[in-house]
């Protein structure tokens, strides 16, 4: 089961959005970069979604120090993403995602769809 840790300014919005999916296969934990960083580092199939105004500062924050830049990605203020692009990011080993609070509704669903879609292939994360 994928576990998604969420943090940053818009964490309550992301939580509400993900809870609406009512997906039993998705575990959501409200957290922050300092707490989730060490957890992501040692547990596979865990992801982090952070939000702030730039999509990188409060979103990723200390994640870059915990996981290294190669495992982090920021969508910045990008408004439209598609599942195929996210799939590519996940294939390259990215586990922590940052995005701008005002793009939560467009970015988060596609992002989580892609994370969920990876499940059948199993623990390449």
């Amino acid at each position: 089961m994928s576990t998604i840790y969420i943090g940053g300014v818009g964490k309550s919005d992301v939580k509400r959005l993900l809870e609406q999916r009512r997906d039993p296969k998705l575990k959501i934990v409200v957290s922050n970069d300092l707490e989730a960083g060490p957890i992501l580092k040692r547990s596979p199939d865990t992801y982090y979604i952070g939000t702030c105004h730039t999509g990188a500062g409060g979103s990723l924050g200390a994640m870059l120090a915990f996981l290294g830049r190669q495992k982090c990605h920021t969508f910045g203020r990008q408004a439209r993403i598609n599942t195929a692009d996210v799939q590519k990011l996940l294939d390259s080993g990215i586990r922590a995602f940052g995005l701008s609070v005002d793009q939560i509704n467009t970015v988060v669903p596609a992002l989580v769809d892609a994370i969920q879609a990876r499940r059948p292939e199993g623990g390449t994360a």
């Binding site: 922050n32 707490e35 105004h53 999509g55 500062g57 870059l64 005002d102």
Partner: protein
């Protein structure tokens, strides 16, 4: 409304952007909190200067043209986005140390002279949208009073949120009736902040108590497991525990190295602090979106209060990114703004700025340790940022539509509101906070063109 950049303001702006660019060239500080985390890989050599420039540009460009420029142009007051986001980029792209301050200085000069030229032109137009923008201060100051109640609702739920909202309103009404010399929004804001702090501290204490109780029960059950395994042979818990502490040790050592790097460079930051202190003391520069319009109206005490609370929303973010990257924030913890608005002269403001930055850099690692433990406080800070944004978006939109009304009545309302809605539909290329002001500027330009074409009769903008 007229704008006079004094020689001191011109010189200090240019010096500030020059020095800021110099600091980002050396990866010692950047203004953009999103760029900062990447600097760790940059000064370690894992990211090339070209890659780093691309990252900085990508994360900053939208805020320069979508926030900094429209806020500066519509308020006539300089802001950190328009000055220091470009200086971040210019510093990072400079291959040589000497080049960065030159590019930074050129940018500072472009902004100062550009802004005063643009304001002069705008003031000579038949439809004066800069005067219309004076409508902005009132909605911002009154609505800002309710941001603590919004933050409380986000963090502590609807009951405490509703209580906070009602108390803020009550304080506002009482102030209006009996304390007529005090600004009612300021008192309500203070009352809301006091409630937010009380709720957060109580929650923090409770959470810690619960955590301690939980730790006691788990350690008891662990002891039971341990005694079982010692009989059975293999201890399963041990490797996991060592792994955890190894990960944490590694991070702690990265953080310690970064904090040491910052302390070692404290003199640079003190100089930056002096420059920011003097700059904010000119009252031609404001630290926030809201304060740009408040400073423009000359209400320095209100501006100081607003930016002080705003700082509470940013300090944990600045501290975390600084310690995680080894690079500081160009404007420090932003506490320099309120101090510099209020101090009577540039010399004192400069001293205060330098002293603040020095202390801030020295205590970084202590605050990080504290933040790791104080989860509720850290959440409160995120919620403060979110709530400020939410209330400001409403206030600035309202102020912009009022400015539209002041310029051209119903037509103005339609133009500004329409441009705002259009921006939403386009996936928000301009951030919400600046979409209203952009609407006013565009509507103002259009109305002036229409006035020249004799299609619109300008009304007197009050």
């Amino acid at each position: 409304m007229t704008l006079h950049f004094t020689p001191l303001a011109i010189i200090i702006t240019i010096l500030a952007t020059a020095f800021a660019a110099f600091l980002s060239q050396m990866a010692l500080a950047v203004f953009n909190d999103g760029v900062r985390p990447f600097l760790l890989d940059f000064y370690r050599g894992d990211l090339s200067r070209a890659q780093m420039t691309a990252i900085a540009f990508g994360l900053s460009a939208g805020f320069i043209f979508g926030l900094g420029v429209p806020i500066a142009f519509s308020s006539g007051i300089l802001n950190p986005w328009v000055l220091f986001l470009p200086s971040d980029i210019l510093g990072i792209l400079s291959p040589k140390k000497w080049l960065a301050p030159i590019l930074g200085a050129i940018w500072g000069a472009i902004v100062v002279f550009g802004l005063s030229a643009a304001t002069t032109v705008a003031n000579s137009l038949p439809v004066n949208f800069l005067t219309a923008m004076q409508q902005m201060a009132t909605p911002i100051l009154f609505l800002f009073a309710f941001f603590p109640a919004v933050a409380i609702t986000m963090q502590f739920g609807r009951i405490r949120g509703a209580i906070a909202f009602l108390i803020s309103l009550l304080v506002m009404l009482i102030t209006m009736k009996w304390l007529t010399q005090v600004f009612p929004g300021a008192m309500a804001l203070a009352a809301g902040m006091v409630m937010l702090v009380i709720f957060a501290v109580v929650e923090e204490v409770n959470a810690n108590r619960e955590a301690r109780a939980e730790a006691a029960t788990t350690s008891a059950s662990n002891a039971a497991v341990a005694s079982e395994t010692s009989e059975g042979g293999v201890a399963v818990e041990a490797p996991a525990a060592t792994e955890v502490s190894a990960v944490e040790d590694e991070t702690v050592s990265i953080f310690a190295t970064n904090a040491a790097r910052l302390r070692k460079n404290a003199p640079f930051f003190i100089v930056m602090g002096i420059l920011i202190g003097v700059l904010a003391n000119t009252h031609l520069f404001a630290g926030g979106e809201a304060t740009s319009f408040i400073i423009a109206k000359g209400q320095y005490a209100n501006a100081a209060q607003v930016d002080f609370y705003r700082a509470l929303g940013f300090i944990p973010l600045i501290v975390t990114t600084a310690v995680a990257s080894g690079a500081f924030q160009i404007v420090g913890f932003t506490l320099v703004y309120p101090a510099a608005y209020l101090l009577p002269n540039p010399i004192l403001a400069g001293i205060a700025g330098g002293a603040l930055f020095g202390v801030e850099v020295l205590i970084l690692s202590y605050i990080t340790t504290g933040l790791g433990k104080l989860r509720v406080i850290r959440d409160a800070s995120d919620n403060i940022r979110n709530a400020i944004n939410l209330t400001l978006e409403v206030a600035i939109l309202f102020g912009s539509i009022a400015a539209g009304n002041a310029m051209a009545g119903g037509v103005g309302i339609a133009l500004v509101g329409g441009i705002y809605a259009l921006n939403e539909a386009l996936g928000r290329p301009v951030v919400r906070m600046a979409a209203g002001p952009v609407g006013v500027i565009l509507a103002g330009i259009l109305l002036n063109l229409l006035a020249y074409a004799q299609l619109f009769t300008p009304i007197v903008v009050k």
